[in-house]
């Protein structure tokens, strides 16, 4: 059980009060400068909060009242940053074994390297590795030391798109295999959706919202939270069929069509941006793949545009103009058709997720 309450004023003032899940991956999501990294460093014991308390299970890591500040060595955290911080004078094998007692190295270290797919690089030195390979070694090194919790600070963000994609997939498998409670800092939506179970939205040194990842991303609780996540419906779905480059999805009983993401994963998040949703009255004919019967739940006037919240088996939002609003004569309870082109349904494979029952 991870239970954290923390206050941290001074400089740009940060104040975090949150409780993290005892298992699975919690994503700290927010724009740069929101305090995510500082929060993670305070968890690792590398930075010291001005006041407050950090409680990890039954152990107190920090308490300004009693003056407790456990050093990083005592916290048993696996900490991985975007620049892998491998020891340049040690081989991959010795790097990965750094936190492992010498007698256990021959058994534990190769296992971790195999799990991260870098066992054949064991004799190399860090300057002979690519960015992606370095991160794999850094992750193997962190987990080989048998931490109680894994803290990942944007582990993929320094990589090019291709290796980021590959490592994201493998990281998901890796996290599932080692089943450690994990806190992942990121500002990348796809990364958050692919790897996270729960999300904590952070902005300006505050926690805006916390909850299951699909909930928070599709139903931001405040305007500020909506700005952080972007206005986009995030719908858990399952790929039930594939044909001609298209994937057929089942989302809460509603059938959706999207471009096939090309992975074997069947559990996905279908992401639909509000400005890609077109509203039509009645049952006018259309070539759009996705035509959903929807009920309007709310209408929000937002500057030139109007945001219409819909229920079509799952929550969905649409942006329309004020003229369209008058034409369609929409209000809460109105029946409409929501149309989404297949390419506008963006699929994020759920690498880390346990299959939904």
């Amino acid at each position: 059980m991870i239970d954290i309450a923390k206050a941290f004023p001074g400089g740009p003032s940060l104040r975090f009060e949150l409780t993290l899940r005892p298992a699975g991956t919690t994503v700290l999501f927010g724009p740069s400068g929101s305090g995510k990294t500082t929060l993670l460093r305070m968890l690792a014991g590398l930075d010291r909060p001005d006041r407050g308390r950090i409680q990890f299970g039954k152990t107190t890591w920090f308490d300004s009242e009693t003056g407790v500040h456990a050093p990083p060595q005592k916290r048993r955290v696996g900490y991985v940053t975007q620049e892998s911080a491998l020891f340049p004078h040690l081989s991959v094998m010795d790097n990965a074994g750094f936190g492992v007692p010498v007698p256990d190295r021959p058994t534990r270290v190769p296992k971790m390297l195999i799990l991260m797919g870098v066992n054949d690089l064991a004799a190399r030195f860090p300057h002979e590795l690519s960015g992606g390979q370095k991160q794999r070694v850094a992750l193997a090194r962190a987990v080989a030391a048998r931490p109680d919790v894994l803290l990942l600070d944007e582990p993929l963000s320094a990589l090019d798109a291709a290796s980021r994609e590959a490592l994201r997939r493998d990281l998901g498998r890796f996290l599932r295999a080692v089943s450690l409670p994990t806190v992942l800092v990121t500002h990348d939506r796809s990364e958050a959706l692919a790897l996270g179970d729960e999300v904590v939205l952070v902005a300006n040194g505050r926690v805006l919202q916390q909850g299951p990842i699909a909930d928070v991303f599709s139903r931001p609780a405040s305007l500020e939270a909506a700005r952080v996540v972007g206005i986009e419906a995030v719908v858990p779905a399952r790929i039930t069929g594939r044909s001609e480059g298209l994937a057929i999805l089942d989302a809460f009983g509603v059938t959706l069509t999207a471009l096939d993401p090309g992975t074997e994963v069947t559990e996905v998040f279908a992401c639909i941006r509000a400005d890609e949703v077109i509203l039509e009255p009645g049952d006018s004919p259309t070539s759009a793949r996705n035509r959903l019967a929807a009920t309007v739940t709310a209408v929000h006037l937002e500057s030139a545009l109007v945001r219409v919240d819909l229920d079509c088996g799952f929550p969905l939002a649409a942006f329309i103009t004020r003229a369209a609003l008058r034409e369609l004569n929409l209000s809460a309870g109105s029946k409409v058709s929501a149309m989404i082109k297949a390419p506008a349904v963006h699929l994020v494979p759920r690498e880390a997720a346990a299959p939904r029952s």
């Binding site: 690792a44 014991g45 060595q73 900490y79 940053t81 911080a85 340049p88 750094f98 300057h127």
Partner: protein, 225 residues
């Protein structure tokens, strides 16, 4: 040529370098990473011998270790003899005199090690001590080597401090630089030149070795940083 004086010089330089390694590594580490305000005092004190006339330093050591000072009296009780005009006294003075030549390269090299590597080691459970020997020292070893060689060479060439503290006792405190001075005083220019030539040659070899070591002992990965 005064071989006995050369032997004393080399012995003094080696002993000084060794002691500076023991004192300088922790002191350099502290200076590189401390956030304490004490650093504002310690740093200039360590650097003082760079600007102080050797005679001033020598006088201080002489008085501090002399038979009239408490420290001198304590040492006399322990060792059975006074420190002034002995090899041990000379060693103490040399250590102080060469302190910045060891500590500054050490501290610079330690501070140059990426802080993220220290943090990574801490998070992997390595203590401050373990991190120093497993990460910082190996990565800073060129700077440490430079500090040792510099303090060795600097001790080899010192004159004023030796004269003040050591006196001129053949086989004990009479170093090569003093021997040269004596030879010149005695108008024995040939002897002075011979000893000088040995010192020049030795210094050149040391400096060449240093540059070779520093240029050639590149750590894996160090080239990229």
């Amino acid at each position: 040529m005064d071989l006995q004086a050369l032997r004393v010089s080399l012995l003094l330089a080696a002993a000084t370098s060794f002691c500076l390694l023991l004192i300088g590594l922790p002191l350099g580490y502290w200076l590189a990473f401390t956030r304490s305000r004490l650093r504002l005092i310690v740093e200039p004190v360590v650097a003082l011998p760079l600007v102080l006339p050797p005679t001033v330093l020598g006088l201080c050591v002489l008085l501090a270790l002399g038979p009239r000072s408490p420290a001198g009296q304590a040492l006399e009780r322990i060792t059975g003899h006074t420190f002034a005009f002995t090899f041990e006294g000379l060693l103490v003075a040399s250590i102080l005199y060469s302190l910045p030549f060891a500590v500054q390269p050490f501290a610079t090299a330690f501070a140059g090690v990426d802080i993220r590597l220290r943090e990574a080691a801490f998070c992997l459970g390595a203590s401050q001590f373990g991190t120093f020997f497993r990460v910082i020292l190996p990565l800073a070893r060129r700077g440490v080597l430079a500090g040792i060689i510099l303090s060795f060479a600097h001790t080899l060439g010192e004159f004023g401090v030796v004269l003040m503290v050591g006196g001129n006792i053949p086989g004990v405190t009479r170093t090569a630089s003093i021997a040269i001075y004596d030879s010149v005083q005695a108008l024995d220019y040939a002897a002075a030149l011979r000893t000088s030539a040995v010192l020049v040659g030795l210094s050149l070899v040391i400096l060449a070795a240093t540059s070779h070591l520093l240029g050639g002992l590149v750590l894996p990965g160090a080239r990229r940083r």
